[in-house]
Amino acid sequence: MSASTAAPTRLRRPTLAAALRRGWSPTNAITALILIALIIADLSIQPALANLFQIGLLIETALPLILLSVAQTFVVLVGGIDLSVGGMFVVANAITAQWVGLHGGAHQWLVLVAVGFGLAMGALNGLLVVGLRFQPFIATLGTWTIFNGIALTILPTDGGSPPPFLSNLLINEVAGIPTSIVILVAIFVAWRALRATRFGVRIYAVGADEERARLNGTPVRRVKLAVYMLAGLCAALAGIYAAGANASGTPTGGDPYILTSVAAVVIGGASLRGGEGGVGMTMMAAMALTLINDIVGAENLNTWVSVAAASALLLAMVIVRTGINAAIARRRASGRPTTGVGGAIPARAGGSVSERGES
């Protein structure tokens, strides 16, 4: 108690440099470098891309994948996996293209139905995993096909007519900046805000170690349920966005996104075991995967090139990370030979213990 009135403890000023230092890790650096390299490559192939409008278009094509990858990130952060993101995507997409579209501009709020469906589908996944203790892989493998079926029931073939207001909203500009860029920034800001809430901290705690999180008083099951719902929400937003941006719905277009979203999460440096990674890095990775497609398209190469390149990127990332982790572990082991049971620490009087240097 008395400490709070004591002289404020000195802390480093929060600077951009400090923030970068905190976010720095070898894997993050590599993901960033990959993205930068791909941007440079794409620009040198198509110099005309270097204007805001073109960038906006590129991000427009990237956004569904980005949103689905964000959804996947949340689930992966708590140690799960969500194969149904594609299914939730198409359901929201079909609802937007069919039900909302049928009413034209009259009932714009019907878009919220698609959002609600997203939350409900996420909640279903969450209940299967948390309540019935299904393995996430199995639970979402099952719901994925169910969701695909629901989408086809709502919208049997490609097409439909998403409400024009949505298309207008999504393809236009906000104060001279393409909406897609604004949305991209908004996603990131929303993520940073969420990360800074108690819920954000809890996501990481649960992902790192459920039992420890519980010992710290975390309502583990509620957190996981909320995470699956959040994933459903993001997937639904992706579906709504795709319907609006394409002015058309596609009830079968979700499947290719599923494994790509997992790939983006892994390339972004998240651990499939949970507790490690973040939406920012996933967004970069999803962007990188989109750029590969763009380059392949511009060069008129076969589509398999793009698939192969994405896979190569994924494998390279995993190999590099394994190597880095091994190196870190080795350095730690050699730095402190007497860890473990008898690892007595220096006496407090001795003062500083600052020989470990990882980051």
Partner: protein, 528 residues
Amino acid sequence: MSDVPALLIDGMYKRFGAVRVLEGVDLGANRGEVHAVVGENGAGKSTLMRIVAGVIGADAGHVSLDDAPVNLHGPRRAAAAGIRMVFQELSTIPQMTVAENLLYGRERTLLGVVRGRDRRRAAAELLARFDLERIDPAARVAELGLGDRQLLEVVKALREPPTVLILDEATSALSRTDSAWVLEQGRRAARDGAVVLLITHRLREVREYADRVTVLRAGRDVLTGTPTELDDDALIAAMLGRRVERLYAARTDPRSDEALRVSELASVGLPGPVELSAREGEILGIGGLQGQGQRELLMALAGAMPWTAGRATLRGRPYRPSSPVQALAEQVAYVPEDRQREGLFLGQSVRHNITAAALRRFTRWGVLDRRAENRGSREGAETVGVDTARLAARVSTMSGGNQQKVVLAKAILDRPLLLLLHDCTRGVDVGTKADIFRLMAELAASGTTILFYSSDLSELVHMCHRVAVLVEGRVAGVIDGRELSEDAILRLAVGHQAHDTGAAAAGRPAAGVGGGGVSSSDGERVKR
């Protein structure tokens, strides 16, 4: 009314599967009191504390605080009632920063958002309150040493003044200075009006810090008193109780040839240096409190853990396995602690499990010779006393005792020169235990050297020729046949002197073969 203790534990029962861990424990502790709870490994101390902290549920019994029943459904509820536990197996989350951990769930927020800077400052202030300024609030907990992590655990528990503070072997991994600091924090919390429960193996800590002490044995509270009226002998006698058992097979004397010599061994989690020697046909016990490096020692010898230093000879030949395969090739067999996870292929048949480690013997040009495998597994099953009619059954359908026999059959199928047994009698019935002991005696008689770790002291006393007691990853002393007793082991393990002079073991010669008597790390003899 006024005589009712502040914390009252009443008729606590708990069982895990078939194992009864608590069988009606009553315990009362007052505010302002440091109440020590002591007992052998497996006496139920930690289980009891975890129930009080809401980590696990009890089967029966209740806890009341200041005369009102406490809802212990989950750690959240317990914490809300002011019950804080410093966990033996740390509860901080390594991937998160010190600040995130310390203020977890208590962050000050603005519109739901935590400012990282505020949090770091609050953490720094909290650390300063405990004179721990040297810990950087922005550091990840994974980067801290084990000792600092344990101190953080204490700081976290004392963030707000607790009503009940539980220190569950919080000092077992700490240096003496840090132990003293932790215990001092406990005493201070008691002075501020908390009930403090101190779980420890070190009787010295009971003497120095506790106002009262309760002894648990086999899930019951058997003795309560003040440290002044109970001396160490009384406590130890209460911890062990009297037991008469006739399940131990007769031992034969070991041969004179040295079979295994280990010098300066160190491994991950085993700071060492470990010095050991054992003769052919000898059963060498590995004793000590839990987590003093016994597991690591056996795993290192089994090739399952990398050696960071040291050398060994096995029957005169240099021995340094870098994998379990190499160890097997040198005829060293290991029976792991967790039979279901490390010892068996649960979904496969008894037959396949028995022959799994010796497949080479049953294959010709890479093809499994079924008939040879049948014969081999039948012999193995007969040796350990597993019903041969069940060779085709899945291991997962068998009882724990029979599963353990299958693991043993696998381990001894190739007549190992060195057999490493890690607590292979835990959780098996008495009959199976007797079978296992008979088998051990037979193997030893045929010349196999056995290293036997058991959490049950009486097993060590009855089955071993000698017992090496490990304290903090070193051999604190070796107790020879004539002097071998549960008392002697416990004294050495609890460390009247051993852990105070950690450096003493470094220059020790190999565990004395002859000599007799108990030699502790500083050479002092322990009287019986």
